[in-house]
Symmetry: C2
Subunit: 223 residues, 2 copies
DNA sequence: CCAAAACGAGACTTCAGTGTCTCAGATTGT
DNA sequence: ACAATCTGAGACACTGAAGTCTCGTTTTGG
């Protein structure tokens, strides 16, 4: 690990080493896209998201094949593989931000809002997986976008805190990370078919708010 | 993702695609090692563990340099990079199993045993990181070893359950995974210096057993 | 002490994957 | 309809890393 700054989301964002040999690159992308080009570009991005979610080390050729497109076409839109990877990552983040933005979290009581959030993440699990497993180079754009996403979580938690629902000495950052840690596990369970989405939401809610212990365990494990 | 069988530890064990171009390999390792060879082999393995923990995509040359050893020597002991990777992974697992075995978990009350377990993992965080971030190909050996490690966790949890400390409708597998999810977050916090080991153990214990909610939250979030 | 074994250094081969280029054909926009 | 743009297909050059090999030197074990 050799990240410089120490942000709050280390757990979620993986190392950013350009994961394959990459030559310096060349020209930037054009200015105005013809309709079909734009269509294609979007399609490539979407396919790449799925492919990278399944295998972060997938080659450009694999993406091209999956998208039913020539490899050269990909390079036309994304000069280097790293740039494609970065674009995919940002696209996934945008996907999630959009989904959360339209989920109406503000209108929900905090506990329900967290439930809703998990539902969104489960629905967008491919995007979520990309965020977690595909590397990204942290620049200002990434930083800002990510920060905003985290802000949405933090806000919900702070509202819960205002309702006296959160143990006072647990920081918002911890609650957010603990939530995402548990949510991530649940996500895997759903992906494995060991749990359906309803069950996942239920289990995460209970685990997060009340832990896995019985009342008697709560007494015994307190310091 | 293209794993066939569906085990309980998908969350922890990452995709196993040989993460770099690898040619077919060649000869197996010799039979009896001279003393210096054995020493060297162990040293390479240990160094590789550290290097791979920091960067799962590190090259053989990087490992060689870090170990102060010729690249050829590494290839003598581990014909292909993949075999080195596999050996490192298994070594890390063995490391952890050993540490847990000598931690005297059986003699501790279940909640304390889980605390102790986290302490061990924090102490062996390099090995743990390797397990999580470095790919491995699942063969029978890996499967058996991993299964045993999980068994150790499961056993502690089952003892807790026998003491009526675990909510009856939460499965042992879920408790184990939720624990490891939260523990993983705590591990990152410690690595970032946002938490010391004592605090991490404390926080994980409370979060796991009682969640992040206040008593009133427990009432309100129940179904 | 000496033969066998292991090593480092460096030269070499091979190869997968990137990125470039060209060109003939399809699509678009006006 | 026609010029501009985009595309697929394929050939090509380049490179980093893997794996092999040799040879002179060091270490081991009996």
């Amino acid at each position: 690990m050799e990240r410089s700054e120490s942000k709050e989301y280390h757990f979620v964002v993986p190392a950013a080493r350009s994961d394959r040999t990459t030559r310096p690159a060349a020209s930037p992308t054009p200015r105005v896209l013809r309709a079909d080009a734009a269509r294609n570009r979007a399609h490539i991005l979407e396919t790449a998201m799925v492919v990278f979610a399944a295998d972060p080390l997938a080659t450009v050729d694999e993406v091209a094949t999956a998208a039913g497109v020539g490899r050269a076409t990909i390079h036309r839109h994304f000069p280097t593989r790293d740039q494609l990877r970065q674009a995919v990552w940002l696209g996934a983040l945008e996907h999630l931000r959009g989904a959360l933005a339209t989920a109406g979290l503000d209108a929900l009581e905090p506990p329900l809002a967290l439930d809703r959030m998990l539902e969104v993440i489960l629905a967008e699990s491919v995007a979520y997986r990309v965020l977690i497993r595909v590397g990204v180079e942290i620049d200002d754009e990434v930083d800002a976008a990510f920060e905003e996403l985290l802000g949405q979580v933090g806000e919900v938690i702070d509202r819960a805190r205002a309702d006296d629902l959160i143990e006072a000495d647990m920081t918002t950052a911890w609650v957010a990370d603990a939530w995402s840690g548990v949510a991530l596990v649940a996500l895997e369970w759903v992906a494995d078919g060991r749990l359906d989405e309803r069950g996942a939401v239920e289990l995460v809610r209970r685990t997060l708010w009340a832990g896995v212990g019985t009342p008697s365990a709560r007494r015994r494990t307190r310091r």
